[in-house]
């Protein structure tokens, strides 16, 4: 690792300072709430609320997905650490418009423990909370233990669809139903070629030999499920797609999907586009129609190098929700 000359202040204050900066990026559309939450201003009274969240250091998600027709708020933890229960509670109270709150976040022990505690206290206060966990990372567990999978870049299309639904539904149950469908229709797989670093220590989150890349590595830099030789984009893309196609979600010719090619940080847009070129060729062969393509660093782990491919299968309902314009720091749509 070369010495990283990060442009920061107190290495232990990164999470709180970046959140203050993020709120500024909303130019008055959103505000800072409590110790670690960002919440949209003037939410419609009675609106069914969508709350996302998780550890910081993965910008622009999760907190960058707060926006119009997206999430109403985000509960943010320290770098790579789930937000504590009281931050979750502060965010919950701020987004709640009397019609219930859906928690939508990645499936990690820390997040589940903290959001669940927040939900319990919120319930005691009379706020109805439901939870949908995101677990799109196919290699992280076999299909029969799907619910043990991690949440990775697939969260972007899932939150986009849930946010569009939250802007239109009248009940929390309806939002939960649609969000579960979006989640169950999304699959991701990724590789990583170089570690990110923990701002507070500058230490890399893992080590990797020079000639291998990690298959199915977590966005926190958790070790992957397998090390494979470093290879060309044209060799790698089919391998990754095969992992998705081998899973329990069937993609038939004629199916329409949203495709996301995500960079974990320092992998360049150039590389993502070269991978996309091959991915599109394979999808075309299979007769799978891409309704919309997202490509860029949406879900990162500091300057970690690596990329992932996510597919979200659309039915008529999801497609209509996808086409709803939205606006946020992480993802906007005309």
């Amino acid at each position: 690792m070369p010495l990283l000359k990060k442009i920061i202040n107190d290495p232990n204050a990164c999470a709180s300072e970046l959140l203050e900066g993020l709120v500024e990026a909303y130019d008055g559309e959103a505000r800072l709430v409590g110790r670690g939450s960002i919440v949209m201003n003037n939410l419609k009274p009675g609106k069914v609320a969508l709350l996302v969240g998780g550890g910081s250091g993965h910008e622009p998600i999760y907190h960058g997905l707060v926006g119009q027709n997206l999430a109403d708020g985000a509960a943010c933890g320290d770098i790579f650490a789930a937000p504590p229960p009281d931050i979750v509670l502060e965010a919950t109270q701020a987004v709640d418009q009397g019609n219930g709150v859906l928690y939508l976040y990645g499936n990690y022990a820390g997040d589940v423990l903290n959001f669940d505690m927040g939900a319990e206290i919120a319930a005691d206060m009379g706020i109805t909370v439901k939870t949908v966990l995101i677990y799109d990372d196919v290699p992280s567990a076999p299909p029969e233990r799907k619910s043990e999978r991690r949440g990775i870049a697939g969260l972007v299309p899932i939150v986009k669809l849930a946010g569009a639904a939250a802007a239109q539904v009248t009940t929390l149950d309806e939002l939960e139903r649609i969000t579960i469908k979006a989640r169950d229709n999304t699959r991701s797989v990724g590789v990583s070629s170089a570690p990110g670093s923990i701002p507070a220590t500058g230490k890399p989150t893992f080590e990797l030999a020079d000639d291998v890349i990690g298959l199915g590595m977590g966005i926190h830099g958790e070790k992957g499920v397998a090390l494979i030789p470093h290879q060309t984009a044209d060799d790698l893309a089919p391998k990754l797609l095969d992992i998705i196609f081998a899973d329990d979600l069937v993609f038939n010719p004629g199916d329409e999907v949203v495709l996301l090619i995500n960079s974990l940080g320092s992998t360049t847009m150039m590389e993502l586009l070269i991978v996309l070129r091959k991915v599109k060729a394979i999808l075309n062969e299979r007769g799978i129609k891409v309704h919309d393509t997202l490509v860029g660093p949406y879900v990162t782990c500091q300057e970690m190098a690596g990329m992932s491919i996510s597919l979200t299968k659309l039915d008529a309902e999801l497609k209509a929700l996808w086409d709803l314009p939205c606006s946020s720091i992480c993802f906007s749509k005309m």
Binding site: G55, G77, I79, P84, A109, G110, A141, R150, K223
Partner: protein, 199 residues
């Protein structure tokens, strides 16, 4: 005593983060450090005459609301859960220490759904609590030392375990060969307590 534990954990930050780097995301030491710094702050604000359970629950709350991550809830529950068991007690004896550890362990297992063998901090805490239960008749110093050793043994035994919970879960076989980071923290906590009592 709680302050000594805090200092010991803070001093062990690099070691604990390194342990988490092997299996998780490398921030366990940082989270524990964040929590223990908050514990020191909150206890400093607490009046000296505060009863034992108040001290412990204050420490637990401080960790729970400052750390985040899995260990925020887990280690926060350690003190908060344990505190209930020593309510009304002025001082700790072997009996009270056993009650404290059992309550702490039960609370954490209820929250985190981890069982012994899942390769979590439970694998250090559970055997320690069990040992404490069997040595209630001993003097506190003797009991505390027995408990500390049980925690260290549990930490060492977690090395050979296959992770089935938490971040390390997805490693499968690859999770074998490293001790669990949270178990390392438990061992440090129990060791510090024993050394204090025995000094």
């Amino acid at each position: 005593m709680v302050l000594l534990v805090a200092d010991a954990i803070i001093a062990a930050e690099p070691y604990l983060s390194e342990a988490d780097r092997n299996l998780g995301d490398g921030d366990h030491g940082l989270g524990m450090q964040r929590g223990m710094l908050s514990v020191k702050e909150k206890l400093a604000a607490l009046d000296a005459a505060a009863p034992l359970d108040k001290v412990l629950s204050t420490a637990g709350m401080a960790m729970m609301s400052s750390m985040g991550g899995a260990s925020g809830v887990i280690f926060g529950s350690f003190y908060m859960g344990g505190a209930k068991a020593v309510a009304g007690k002025e001082t700790l004896d072997a009996n009270g220490y056993a009650d404290f550890l059992k309550a702490a362990c039960d609370t954490i297992m209820a929250r985190g759904k981890a069982k012994p063998g899942d390769k979590t901090m439970i694998d250090a805490l559970h055997p320690a609590a069990a040992t404490a239960d069997t040595v209630r008749f001993l003097s506190l110093p003797e009991a505390a030392e027995a408990v500390a050793i049980a925690g260290e043994t549990g930490r060492d035994e977690s090395t050979a375990m296959l992770a089935t919970l938490g971040r390390a879960k997805t490693l499968g076989e690859a999770s074998i060969g490293f001790p669990d980071a949270g178990a390392c923290s438990v061992a440090i906590i129990l060791r510090t307590i024993s050394d204090f009592i025995n000094q």
